[in-house]
Symmetry: C2
Subunit: 337 residues, 2 copies
């Protein structure tokens, strides 16, 4: 086994990479997902993106051992079925089967945030932390758990839905149908909604200015930029989101007592300490006092690469595991003959 | 290895057992902890209780392989130190060392709720559920995680502090110093406090009646009994506690996606469906919709025995592990000679 392909399938963009050993990205391709154009178009884009990083002679040479794929979940890693991906409007899509039939390589599918967690653990901010929690704050909020040095995906593959921890029991509705999910109060989408509420109330003047005077231009990056420039209203929005994030972190710390929390995602990266400062303060307040000394919260180190690097590592782990299983079964078969 | 001793050290009682294979309790001893009389008295009680179940000729015969001990945490299983046990008023007590010095058997210490989780997994309601969560609702609220068929205790041994998940961010103060912990709103102690509030406001007449007309007599068992007799005030108290329990269950389901939740503890057992019904309804409301079908909540099956049976199994697992390590090291030493 020499190289693996890695795919990080997001709601807005597709990131494909040819990966050598470790975190060595040999070639990459990033293009829009075009989710609004439907499932067939998205699959065509995925295939075109992967083809763009496959070396021309690799098929004859057997250079590529398999494909690691990160996709929005929840999904069943064993069968390769994505149960439900609201950002793609997909339900019960067997992406593993589709890609294996189209490309001929074995495909290993996992939740995208779980793979980003694995990437940060192996090559990023989480190195040496066998029990760590990764939270990504971008348009939505996602998460992944590495427990005992392995992705933990629960009994049915659905673990790590950190965006749907309820942090405000009587809070705003979440697209998932519940109230007060972390995603409903601390995501890029939630920040935008709260900024628009401010503007509708005749406030948030500086946010609106940087958005070009148009409410449609109000997005999380605008809010973080105005916050960094010192605007108290933008800072208050980010601090509130940070406190909710900190409450979730405190609760997870009480449940799992990990040695590290890594906060990634575009919104968290843009907001920096305006989000992480209040998150840390609230988490320290909410963690069980005897566990407070263990609490450590750091930003992600891999930026957009966490997902593909985790996907590549996941494929390599699965290939090695399958190889060992084959060897073991081969020996057994020989013993019996 | 023939027998192990098991000890479940609680704030009110000590439960010792001589355990054969599996869940076979050969002899047991239950006596008060007498925590208020100080650490020396508690340790004397522990030793007397263990001595009471040790067969008279076992020392000469080498019949007992070791002792599994469940104690309130958080604690460090490796060193055997209890960091902080508020019900015992203990801080930094190395119980492993104390018992090994006094009795001469190897001692394996774990958090009591973790061991009860292991007991229910191996011999009780959790059989076959490799990823399960145990919650005990008694005077306080505790919890233990079995992930992948093993106790999961986190990076530093502190995992499973389910009683300190924050379910009411602006709720009542918890003895731990935080606000709105599950233990502060859904424990036997919380039920008692709320019933006394009712009585102080001139309500809760039937609860007070069954308590013999004395507010001091109001305890969780009184409230559950009045609730089973149909009293709407008692039922409302239990339903509120149940809803908070359900919110915590929903959040844990979103984070860990286990195949089973087991609810044990005296208060949960006494309240039965008056607590579990509202808990189930709220958990179903709070779980991420795509994970709802996986949600399963059942009562514990082992009653007070979960802790000692888990402690015995834990000791046997550790003894086997240590035995394998010794064998492996023995082989290595031979290879090098």
């Amino acid at each position: 086994m020499d190289y693996v392909l890695a795919l990080d399938l997001g709601g807005t963009k597709i990131y494909s990479a040819l990966v050598g050993s470790g975190d060595q990205i040999i070639k990459k391709d990033v293009r829009p997902t075009e989710a609004a154009q439907g499932k067939e178009k998205v699959i065509a884009n995925i295939l075109a993106s992967l083809e763009a990083v496959i070396p021309s002679r690799s098929r004859q040479d057997g250079l590529i051992a398999g494909i690691g794929v990160g996709a929005p979940g929840p999904l069943d890693s064993r069968s390769g079925t994505i149960f439900f991906a609201p950002n793609l409007e997909w339900q019960n899509v067997n992406l593993k089967e589709i890609l294996e039939n189209a490309l001929g390589y074995p495909v290993f599918l996992e939740n995208d945030a779980n793979l980003a967690a694995l990437g940060e653990y192996l090559y990023g901010a989480g190195q040496g932390h066998e029990d760590m929690v990764f939270i990504t704050v971008s348009t939505g909020v996602g998460g992944g758990l590495v427990l005992g040095g392995e992705i933990y995906s629960g009994a049915f593959g659905g673990a790590g839905e950190i965006g749907h921890l309820v942090v405000a029991p009587d809070g705003p509705l979440c697209p998932c149908g519940n109230r007060g999910c972390l995603e409903a109060v601390a995501s890029g989408r939630a920040l935008k909604r709260k900024a628009l509420d401010l503007i509708a109330a005749g406030k948030g003047r500086r946010i609106l200015e940087l958005a070009g005077g148009e409410p449609e231009g109000v997005e999380a990056p605008v809010i973080t930029r105005v916050g960094h420039a010192g605007d108290p209203e933008a800072r208050a929005l980010l601090a509130e989101a940070g406190r909710y994030l900190g409450l979730a972190i405190g609760n997870i710390a009480n449940l799992l007592n990990p040695s590290l929390f890594i906060i990634g995602g575009g919104v968290a990266r843009g907001a920096g300490k305006l989000l992480l400062g209040p998150a840390r303060a609230e988490a320290e307040l909410r963690v069980f006092p005897a566990l407070r000394d263990f609490l450590k919260i750091v930003p992600g180190a891999l930026r957009g690469r966490a997902g593909v690097l985790g996907a590549a590592a996941f494929a390599r782990r699965k290939l090695r595991f399958n190889h060992r299983e084959e060897l073991a079964n081969g020996h057994k078969a020989q013993d019996q003959s």
